[in-house]
């Protein structure tokens, strides 16, 4: 085997290990169904993949075939995807204990989706982009509708499937148009061709459709309509994965597209994107205001957060890449905390006719007086989502505002401030609900031993990390700075 092949194999080994884990777990299920064993195998496989990723850190940029590239950015994305998947595994194990149907297949779906995410962050060609997105989304249909006897979950799965199919159609059509004009599907070559052909209408239509397809996945306004329903209906661990790993992977591929295709550097593109960013943050925040359902609220809040993130893409210079990195890290940690608590309170799964999870806000009333530490996690997550100092979320918001100020994009900065001010209202409402004590309300509770469960420990760890990175963000900044540099 030649040296180059060895390097390539080494670089891509995390992806291979995740795929191997899928097979191992599948064989283990075929041999004997054991819920805990499946969860452990999954976790071990993900950890080994994570180790391989860290081990390959010093390899630099490695071209693995002409469609995949493993560089610092893709390793960064890989770490985020694998970490969130691991958190989902621990949460899922506790959650699915109460589920009467087959439980083990959930891990197969989760692992496949994680593999899709890994492909996506390494994509540098339209084929891998498409392959990654589909591999990421298809298992998600299954995961979202996993507890299919609940109407909510089934609705959520089907809704996501139908809209994903629409997005895929846009994506494919866009690619086809791009190929028809330029004759290539490679990101870098596309970039060159785009600058050569200038403003060919077919080309622009193709790029636009491509963006529409990706915007669906990121639930950017006006393609956000599916988000609240899917978030609300899906089982806790599946929603957690959708909100973290899936969004991170898609956003990173979008970032890579922006970096390599020069056509997006034209001014009117920026204005259009800036407009979309403003609309996204305002719409997300405004619609979240009146929600009485925590998962829906978090769904709308995620729309707003991707609006903030778009600011970095619009600016696309100076601190932009670093900002994306920092914001994604803080967003993933915070979201894991928030959804982790929702999932823990809903664990173990209880069969109902409607939506099984504890998602109405009044279920959380007075949680502090029963589960103080779990509430502390939720409070920290809410503060971090709102961008209050001494939480990681503030560092993210600091970067977003800094990148806007640096580029003198005052409208964007102003909308970020306005959006945050609106956002405070509903984050505070969630927070204070946790502390209010009113007996006699219908409520659900985490199990007594939640803190000793793997899921509980992960959630506590995530909250600690959110605080620590808020107090001392230097390690995170150095890491991301190195990746972006």
């Amino acid at each position: 085997m030649s040296h180059a092949t060895m390097m390539a194999l080494l670089a891509i080994s995390p992806l291979i290990l995740v795929c191997l884990t899928v097979i191992v777990v599948m064989l283990s299920i075929a041999w004997q169904r054991n819920h805990t064993l499946s969860a452990i195998l999954t976790a071990v496989g993900l950890n080994v993949a994570l180790l391989a990723l860290l081990f390959g850190w010093s390899l630099g940029t490695v071209d693995v075939t002409s469609v995949l590239v493993v560089d610092d950015l893709s390793r960064f994305g890989g770490v985020l995807v694998l970490m969130s998947t691991l958190a989902c595994v621990t949460l899922a194990h506790h959650y699915l204990e109460g589920y009467e149907g087959p439980r083990d297949e959930f891990y197969l779906l989760l692992l496949s989706a994680a593999a899709g995410g890994m492909v996506l962050v390494s994509a540098r060609h339209m084929t891998t982009l498409f392959f990654g997105i589909e591999l990421l989304s298809m298992p998600l249909f299954g995961m979202l509708a996993y507890t299919f006897r609940d109407r909510g979950a089934l609705e959520s799965g089907i809704k996501y499937m139908v809209l994903s199919a629409a997005a895929t159609a846009f994506l494919l059509f866009g690619m086809a148009l791009l190929y028809a004009v330029t004759g290539t599907l490679d990101f870098a070559e596309l970039g060159e061709a785009l600058s050569a052909y200038g403003s060919d209408p077919w080309l622009l239509a193709g790029a636009g459709m491509l963006l529409v397809g990706l915007a669906f996945k990121l639930s950017i306004v006006p393609f956000h309509l599916w988000t609240p329903d899917v978030y609300q209906g899906g089982p806790g661990p599946a929603t957690t994965f959708l909100a973290t790993a899936s969004k991170v992977a898609v956003f990173l591929v979008l970032l890579r597209l922006f970096q390599s295709t020069l056509a997006f550097h034209e001014n009117w593109w920026h204005d259009l994107l800036g407009f979309i960013a403003v609309v996204t943050m305002l719409v997300g925040n405004l619609l979240a205001l009146t929600q009485n359902d925590l998962k829906r609220l978090l769904g709308y809040s995620s729309i707003a957060h991707f609006g903030y993130l778009l600011v970095a893409l619009v600016v696309n210079q100076g601190l932009a890449v670093e900002t994306v990195g920092i914001y994604l890290v803080t967003y993933v940690l915070t979201t894991l905390g928030a959804f982790g608590v929702v999932t823990l309170v809903s664990s173990p799964y209880v069969a109902t006719g409607g939506t099984a999870d504890a998602s109405p806000l009044h279920h959380y009333r007075g949680l502090f007086w029963r589960r103080p530490y779990l509430t502390a996690v939720m409070t920290v997550s809410m503060l971090s989502l709102a961008g209050i100092p001494f939480t990681a979320g503030f560092i993210g918001k600091f970067y977003i505002i800094a990148v806007g100020v640096e580029a003198h994009r005052w409208w964007l900065v102003g909308s970020v401030v306005l959006g945050s001010a609106i956002g405070l209202y509903y984050y505070l409402r969630v927070m204070v609900t946790l502390f209010l004590h009113e007996p006699g309300m219908q409520r659900r509770d985490a199990t007594h031993d939640w803190a000793e469960r793997a899921g509980g420990m992960v959630v506590l760890g995530v909250a600690t990390l959110v605080i620590l990175l808020g107090l001392y963000p230097t390690p995170m900044i150095n890491w991301v700075n190195w990746v972006a540099g």
């Binding site: 100092p389 001494f390 600091f398 505002i401 800094a402 900065v413 204070v432 230097t474």
Partner: protein, 508 residues
């Protein structure tokens, strides 16, 4: 390290209070009181042991004590703490009012005592951080951070207000007002930092470095406005005051004491420390507007105070009126006016705290803050009305109280700069007399509604009130210690204003 401990002690004390709840309700109270007394003792020790005389010629700032450590090297952000006469006075005030807040909620707060004191002490820790931080990033962090425990204090232990306004609504309003305006300040800070980066090629958030950032006139103007709006919301300056009456009316007594006594002062401190020295020319140009706003505040606050039925709302509006004087003094920029501002801030902290504590004690006895339900209390409560008379007199600025010293110095110092504003503002003093007499008349005189006597002041309440009265009178008769301590810091502010004025005069 003393400075770090000054910040850490309230935070650690708060955590201890929370955990001490399992040993009964008394434990958190004593721990909180001990923490605040320790804090106060440390500051007083610093005060006695240090020299706050005038800074050496040419020195930009005279810090008595300084402490710094690298924090986020990527942007040149440091944990940089420093203390001078102004911050020392403010921290001493924080310690003192903190202890008072603990004492006055001794019987008022009976639910979740530990968590209450956690929030109370964390507010105070955040405030101390604001007074000590001279790295702009750190300053902003503390500035925003102290809102969270204050939010909880109002939202969880507040009183549900009259006319359907809820305590959660009031708390949310307070939080959104201050947080959103804080973000404007963050934008201004970042604008300043990037301007400095553009000029020198390095990122820094250090106060001393940013002081001489070359700025174009328009940039300086906008950045100054960003700072001003954030401080103006907290002070509050009139069009931005919407949160204050609700927050005060709904907050528990300790919350009101902290809010009026210390949190409002962080805004004045911010103007003195940051807005004026960082943008002297722009501030100088803005001064007429700011002083007019102050004037509006004086009258608006006083007139609305006269029409209130809710005792705490009334006191809240008088705060707006008093802060109008502070704003005029700050933007007059003469040394006498600035010294007057310091005296007035300290005096208002005492008199407002005293009035809020009294209204808390009335509420404990009558279970209402509505003045229509009161009247004729002079004969029914032993001791309390007498104290009320003293604080009301202080609030209207009667000679012999510290408030008189402050208001007089502000007016005297501003007269040379803006005579007409001072003339009109003096008319506001008449309104102060009117609302002060309203309080006495409606609450304590007139026909009593019932004849049954109410519980008199117990020893805890008497000692607390006597302490405040003593301070008000002492600083009214002998304000020199205050003025000596803040002289150095105020002179630096005054010099930067003077230079800006000279430069603008030269340009014209």
């Amino acid at each position: 390290m003393t400075l770090v401990w000054l910040i850490l002690i309230p935070f650690i004390g708060g955590l201890l209070c929370w955990q001490a709840e399992r040993f009964g309700d008394q434990a958190p109270r004593w721990i909180a009181l001990g923490t605040m007394l320790l804090e106060l003792a440390m500051v007083l020790g610093l005060w006695v042991g240090s020299d706050f005389s005038l800074p050496a010629e040419g020195a930009a700032n005279a810090w008595t004590l300084e402490w710094q450590a690298d924090w986020i090297p990527r942007f040149g952000i440091q944990v940089h703490l420093a203390i001078d006469g102004l911050s020392l006075l403010m921290i001493a005030l924080t310690g003192l009012l903190g202890a008072m807040a603990v004492i006055c909620s001794w019987k008022e707060i009976v639910q979740r005592v530990g968590f209450f004191h956690l929030n109370l002490l964390w507010i105070l820790g955040g405030v101390v951080g604001v007074f000590l931080a001279i790295d702009l990033f750190l300053f902003f962090l503390f500035w925003e951070m102290m809102l969270v425990p204050m939010y909880f204090l109002i939202a969880l232990w507040g009183h549900s207000g009259s006319r359907g306004s809820s305590r959660i609504g009031a708390a949310t309003k307070f939080f959104i007002y201050t947080q959103a305006s804080g973000l404007l300040m963050l934008i201004a800070i970042l604008g300043l930092v990037f301007a400095h980066h553009g000029a020198t090629g390095e990122y820094t958030f250090a106060y001393a470095d940013l002081l001489d950032t070359p700025l174009s006139e328009t940039t300086a103007w906008w950045l100054m406005l960003g700072f001003f709006v954030a401080f103006a919301v907290k002070l509050p300056v009139v069009p931005l005051h919407g949160w204050l009456p609700d927050a005060h009316a709904q907050a528990p007594t300790a919350g009101s004491v902290d809010l009026a006594g210390i949190l409002l002062k962080t805004a004045a401190y911010g103007m003195l420390r940051f807005a004026l020295p960082l943008f002297p020319e722009a501030s100088q140009a803005f001064a007429p507007v700011a002083m007019t706003l102050g004037l509006i505040g004086i009258f608006y606050g006083a007139i609305l105070a006269c029409g209130q039925q809710d005792l705490k709302r009334l006191i809240a509006y008088t705060s707006i009126s008093h802060m109008g004087f502070v704003l005029i003094g700050i933007y007059a920029g003469t040394e006498l006016a600035l010294q007057g501002v310091v005296a007035l801030m300290v005096a208002h902290a005492f008199s407002a705290a005293g009035l809020f504590i009294l209204s808390g004690q009335l509420y404990e006895r009558l279970h209402t803050r509505d003045m229509r339900q009161m009247g004729g209390l002079w004969g029914r409560i032993r001791g309390l009305p007498g104290f009320a008379l003293v604080f009301v007199a202080a609030s209207l600025g009667l000679p012999g109280t510290a408030n008189f010293v402050g208001e007089f110095m502000v007016m005297f110092g501003s007269f040379g700069v803006a005579p007409w504003i001072v003339v009109i503002a003096s008319a506001g003093l008449i309104l102060a007399a009117v609302y002060s007499l309203f309080i006495m008349q409606r609450v304590y005189y007139g026909p009593p509604r019932e004849e049954t006597p109410l519980a008199g002041l117990d020893r805890r309440e008497t000692v607390l009130l006597f302490g405040i009265v003593a301070l008000v009178v002492f600083f009214g008769i002998y304000p020199q210690p205050l003025l000596d301590t803040s002289a150095g810091a105020m002179q630096i502010v005054q010099q930067s204003v003077q230079q800006a004025g000279a430069m603008m005069g030269g340009a014209q």
